[in-house]
């Protein structure tokens, strides 16, 4: 590959990569969190707006717009998250407006984290995070179904061992 590959239009779509998507359950989980975080201030500002009227409605409108925007954005964000296990490295892609792609060679993996909070657990999803020796490597795959998360973790671990490189 590499040198032979022809110029391509989009670095976020490397040749011959089939992306795996994360679970749609992550949309629900993130929506719930957002609704809670923005819902409380929304309710409070609506109450204030009702009491005082006039310009006091402004914060309520702002928060409502923010909430609407978040509700519109979150499903897109979650659908934009993709990962691909290639032969030698793992690709993780995310972002709608601010896109990013990380290429992590298996041999560089120092350790992996699998974590899931109570909400994520109730939706049956977990987050897998790959750590290299660099703190700036941000290879996090959120919202994997629990079984898939375990499989990815095991696969990464075994691949990491077989391709182990030094620092």
């Amino acid at each position: 590959m590499g040198v032979m590959s022809i110029p391509q239009q989009d670095p976020f779509e490397p040749d011959g990569v089939t992306w795996s998507r994360v679970s749609d359950q992550l949309i629900k989980a993130r929506l719930i969190v957002t609704v809670i975080w923005l819902g409380i201030p929304l309710a409070a500002s609506v109450v204030l707006g009702v009491i005082f009227g006039g310009w006091v409605w402004t914060p309520a409108i702002v928060v409502a717009l923010l909430l609407a925007w978040a509700l519109w954005l979150i499903p897109r964000q979650v659908r934009a998250v993709g990962y691909a296990e290639r032969e030698e490295d793992l690709l993780v892609r995310k972002g709608v407006m601010f896109r990013s792609l990380v290429v992590v060679p298996y041999g560089r993996m120092q350790f992996t984290d699998v974590s899931s909070g109570p909400l994520a657990r109730s939706f049956g999803i977990a987050e897998v995070k790959l750590h290299t020796a660099s703190a700036s490597t941000d290879a996090t795959i959120p919202g994997l179904p629990t079984a898939e998360a375990a499989r990815v973790k095991d696969r990464l671990t075994s691949l990491g061992e077989s391709r182990l490189a030094g620092l």
Binding site: G2, F12, D89, V103, G166
Partner: protein, 564 residues
């Protein structure tokens, strides 16, 4: 040193750690409690003075009583510190085995830390001011994982510290000291006669005749590694294995005048001067006031920064040796840090607008052990505090021996160049909308063994990341970049340098990402051994590291011994 090396009672050897024979455990020097007690006492007294002195002064007691109380507090603090330090010292012991440095410590909560030799990133001898007066030093063994992963062996006598440092480095390099010792014992300690071990030959290979170690060959080893001479005795009264010190060759010494001048020309100094001038003018206009003190007090941070730069980088010297680069620095507290070959993860060269007038640059390096520890002190990461372009190029060649001579013009173009000369690939012209100043500077250049990133027009920067040290790669794109068809590229390296190149053309970036991943992969496969002088491994690294004058030879056989 009667009880030195005596087994520490009541400590079971945890399973899973390298077996250390009881007599291999060594003690820190018995002056350690005194040196540490001083620190503890100083902290206690400081706390006492800050907290209690106000109250004490307010109480109406005779001055003599007050003095006695303070003196008593100091004595008490000293005793507490001494008792604690004594027990801490009693319970601390270390050992150097064939594949690890092991440190046991802790009075109640026992801790045993094992630093694998293959994973050691650097070894540093630190001498605090008291240690310099009385001839004691501490050793810091750095492993990857930030400053918290460092292991500190403090204090030893200066000679002992040098011996321990040499032993750790020699063992980490893959020299079988046990073997040498057997040979040495067999030949009544006449190491000069035992030039047969290939490792010893390698030790001095490539060393300059004018090097500190003096003449060539086994003489250098004999002069600096009296393996037969009875070292500090261990528990069984056998001579300790002494590693010969690798000969070193000083290549750079920073003149104090230049350091001072460079700090005077630093942005912080300019800031302080401007602020002081502002305060004076403001004071005259406003007829004084309390705010002046507050303003001046606020400047202490900048002054402290300048002072710490001066005191840590004073008398900065760099030497090469088969064990790697040896960096010495310090005004009050001195440090001598040895960075073995292949440990440097990334380099960055910087130049601010004022330094540009004088043609000065600063070179930083980062190791996997780099990081900020809990007490907020950064591991020193300077390779060249301030130097000319020629010195920068020399440092880069020393730090990255794989750089070929014909690649140097490209690196030079990375320092001050612009646009696409010397094969640099800059941002496309449309990037001027996002970065009107620096879009002609922002560029990358792929060389055989490194990728170089060039950024910044006012504050010039050049980052160099060896392919084999690239941890992972990233690209990112914001909405504006997307409209313009631009992408930012980041090779992730471990340590404190975070190179990033903004606004590349999408096609270029897409190719770079794929190709760089390939290059990093093949470079990893061809990477040299972690035990840089291991028998059978490439010996060229040592030769190159110790002689900057020669053109770096190609490693004969890229595949090193299997790593662990």
């Amino acid at each position: 040193m009667t009880d030195e090396g005596a087994p520490v009672p009541g400590v079971p050897v945890p399973t899973g750690t390298p077996a250390v024979a009881e007599h291999d455990w060594r003690r820190l020097h018995r002056v350690t409690p005194l040196l540490n007690a001083w620190k503890i006492a100083a902290v206690l007294v400081a706390v006492f003075l800050f907290q209690g002195l106000d109250d004490l002064v307010r109480i109406d007691i005779p001055v003599l009583t007050l003095v006695l109380i303070v003196a008593g507090a100091i004595v008490l603090a000293a005793i507490v510190g001494l008792v604690y330090s004594y027990f801490a010292w009693r319970r601390t012991s270390y050992a150097i085995t064939g594949d690890a440095v092991v440190l046991r410590s802790g009075i109640l909560f026992r801790k045993e830390r094992v630093a694998r030799l293959t994973r050691i990133q650097a070894v540093e001898i630190t001498q605090p001011i008291l240690g310099r007066i009385f001839g004691f030093a501490g050793i810091k063994v750095e492993s990857a994982g930030g400053a918290e992963a460092n292991m500190s062996l403090a204090y030893l006598t200066m000679d002992e510290a040098a011996d321990v440092r040499n032993e750790i480095l020699a063992r980490a390099a893959g020299i079988d000291l046990d073997d040498v010792e057997q040979v040495a014992e067999a030949t009544d300690g006449d190491l000069a006669g035992t030039t047969t071990p290939a490792e010893l030959a390698q030790l001095v290979e490539g060393s300059d005749v004018t090097s500190v170690a003096g003449p060539t060959g086994a003489h250098a080893v004999a002069a600096h590694g009296p393996a037969g001479a009875p070292g500090p005795a261990n528990g069984r009264g056998l001579p300790r294995r002494l590693a010969p010190e690798a000969p070193e060759h000083q290549v750079f010494a920073l003149p104090a005048g230049r350091l001072v001048a460079s700090l005077l020309a630093h942005g912080a100094t300019v800031g302080v001067v401007v602020a002081v001038a502002g305060v004076i003018v403001g004071g005259i206009l406003s007829d004084g006031g309390e705010w002046i003190f507050n303003a001046l007090f606020g400047l202490l941070g900048a002054v402290g920064f300048l002072w710490s730069r001066f005191s840590t980088e004073f008398n900065f010297r760099l030497a090469t040796s088969p064990d790697g680069l040896r960096v010495r620095q310090g005004l009050l507290e001195t440090k001598a840090r040895t960075i073995p070959p292949g440990r440097i993860q990334a380099l960055s060269v910087m130049q601010g607008p004022i330094w540009r007038i004088f043609g000065w640059w600063r070179v930083r390096l980062t190791l996997a052990s780099q990081g900020t520890s809990s007490d907020g002190t950064d591991t020193s990461d300077v390779l060249l505090p301030v130097g000319s372009r020629e010195e920068v190029m020399m440092m880069l060649r020393l730090a990255v021996p794989q750089l070929e001579v014909h690649e140097l013009p490209a690196i030079e173009a990375g320092l001050a160049g612009m646009d696409d000369g010397e094969g640099w690939v800059p941002s496309p012209r449309r990037a001027r909308w996002l970065d009107p100043l620096a879009y002609r500077r922002n560029a990358f250049r792929v060389l055989d063994h490194v990728i170089a990133l060039r950024t910044g027009r006012v504050f010039r920067g050049l980052s160099v990341v060896p392919h084999e040290r690239t941890q992972s790669l990233g690209v990112s794109q914001g909405p504006l970049e997307r409209r313009l068809g631009l992408v930012s590229f980041t090779p992730h390296s471990s340590g404190s340098i975070e190179p990033k190149l903004p606004h590349l053309d999408v096609d270029v970036a897409a190719n770079l990402l794929v190709e760089q991943a390939d290059r990093a992969r093949s470079a990893r496969r061809a990477a040299g051994p972690e035990r840089w002088m291991h028998a059978g491994g490439p010996t060229t690294t040592a030769a190159v590291a110790s002689d900057p004058g020669v053109e770096p030879a190609e490693p004969a056989e890229p595949a090193g011994p299997p790593r662990h």
